[in-house]
């Protein structure tokens, strides 16, 4: 099965009724689910998953098998995850370049990695383990971060990210909002960051809204509309990677009516169409 095409929406319980009620063709082209919301869970969530699989192409995005964690993967969890991936029919699964647990405790959040050789070696090894255990292609998402654990890094996020992908031979789930957030918070050029990513590495794109705090720090909340600056970066990215890379709008809080999210999907689809249009050789 090939990757879904077009603009998708993160499937969330809060949006489920409206998404199911929307007429076919009016909703997203595909959806992304978090496997942890469904593994070992019955009831309404299990029924939702059945309906999702009947209706949309699905990609999976994990929350708790972070490739920066310090301890070995839970093999039983990976076996359950593999079974779910087979059921969804997806050939790409994504996880985060961060850590989220240690000593049996789960933060249920994405904690920042130090950009060190040790963290890189650990991430590369764990990505390879995931590739072997899940038997699908693995994409790693660049995360937002607000701190440098252990002190200022000797290498940049970009060089860390690219070397991890290269050494693990993994795909990138490129979160464009995270690039913008990190660029502002840490003072680098988001466009230059995006331009340095090899297009062939990008398997999927994430887009979301963020919050600007009074102190100027930008927080990746997924609870606001996507900002124009981020849409401009998405357009720049699509011009490089092409319109065939699936784009996902993430919304995890402060849920508006579905129509508002569908309007955001339309805006992203417009950008995608522009990237698909043949360029005027006489144009700029």
């Amino acid at each position: 099965m090939s990757l879904p095409v077009g603009v998708g929406l993160g499937f969330r319980f809060e949006l489920a009724s409206a998404m199911f009620e929307a007429s076919a063709g009016a909703g997203p082209a595909w959806v992304e689910i978090h496997p942890e919301n469904y593994l070992g869970r019955g009831g309404l969530f299990a029924r939702h998953l059945d309906r999702v699989l009947e209706r949309w192409p699905v990609l999976t995005h994990g929350l708790t098998s972070c490739v920066g964690d310090p301890e070995p993967f839970d093999r039983a969890h990976l076996a359950q995850l593999r079974a779910l991936l087979r059921r969804t029919g997806g050939r790409l699964h994504s996880e985060h370049l961060c850590f989220g647990s240690a000593g049996g405790l789960y933060a249920h959040d994405l904690l920042p990695l130090p950009f060190t050789d040790e963290a890189m070696a650990n991430a590369v090894q764990r990505i390879r383990e995931l590739q072997g255990a899940l038997e699908v292609e693995i994409a790693i998402e660049n995360t937002s971060y607000y701190a440098h654990p252990g002190g200022l890094p000797v290498r940049s996020e970009l060089s860390f990210l690219l070397e991890v992908l290269e050494r693990a031979d993994a795909k990138l789930l490129l979160d464009v909002n995270n690039v913008f957030v990190n660029a502002v918070n840490h003072g680098f050029d988001a466009a230059a960051f995006l331009d340095a990513i090899p297009p062939e590495r990008v398997a999927q794109i994430h887009v979301a809204g963020h919050l600007v705090r009074p102190d100027g720090l930008i927080v990746d909340t997924h609870a606001e509309p996507v900002r124009a600056e981020v849409l401009a970066l998405v357009e720049r990215t699509l011009a490089r990677v092409g319109p065939g890379v699936p784009i996902l709008l993430e919304r995890d809080g402060n849920f508006p009516p579905l129509a508002q999210l569908l309007a955001e999907l339309d805006a992203l689809e417009t950008l995608r169409s522009r990237a698909a249009a043949p360029r005027d050789p006489g144009g700029p």
Binding site: G43, H77, A107, P114, P149, G150
Partner: protein, 233 residues
Amino acid sequence: MSTLARLEARWIGACFARDAGLVARAEEPRLQLYREMVRGRIQQLCAEVLPRTRAALGAGVFEELVAAWLAEVGPRSRFFRDLPVLLAEHLLAQGQLLPLPRDLLALERARWHAQVAPDAGPARPFALDAIPVPHPSLSVFEADHAVQFGGDEVPRRTLLAVYRRPDLEVEVRWSTPTLHALLARWARSEEPAIDSVRAVLAAEGRAPTPDFVEEMSTFLAELLERGALIGSR
């Protein structure tokens, strides 16, 4: 332990430690931001799932109990949905809550568990001489208050069962001491159903009268129809 593992363990530990002052003085000033985000999400989920317990305790006491659990036990499940159940089980095992918040917590734990528990798989035939199989969502417990009615928690010994029906609705059932004792034994799934009947009647010094047999048969049929029991093994 590697340098990376030590660093990550320190960060996770700082997220759940009681002493926020220590964290604030840590070398990474933004660690406090992560601590607030991590703890805020867990506090919010627990408040949403356990609202009557929180109201009975008061928001400040409730948040303090969540903070104490985070520090002493911590969130030891990869599934976010499990955290309110783990918190509730910890607090109930400690046995330090007053009766009303304890009863409310037991009910809200059971209701949330009934919502999120795995499905049971296909129904099986039931036989009295075989071991009953409860639905994974089933909880059976006693309360000192009639908490099942919501908003009118009169002090009265109440025998409750909570489970998810086939239509996915969570049902709270209360019953007589004899029927509750029967269901409690059936829910443990350790002995043939008829042995549970004999044990409960023996404990009460009763004989299986026709009225009892009729009452038990009706009760059993309802449990099977409404999904509290899924059959026998």
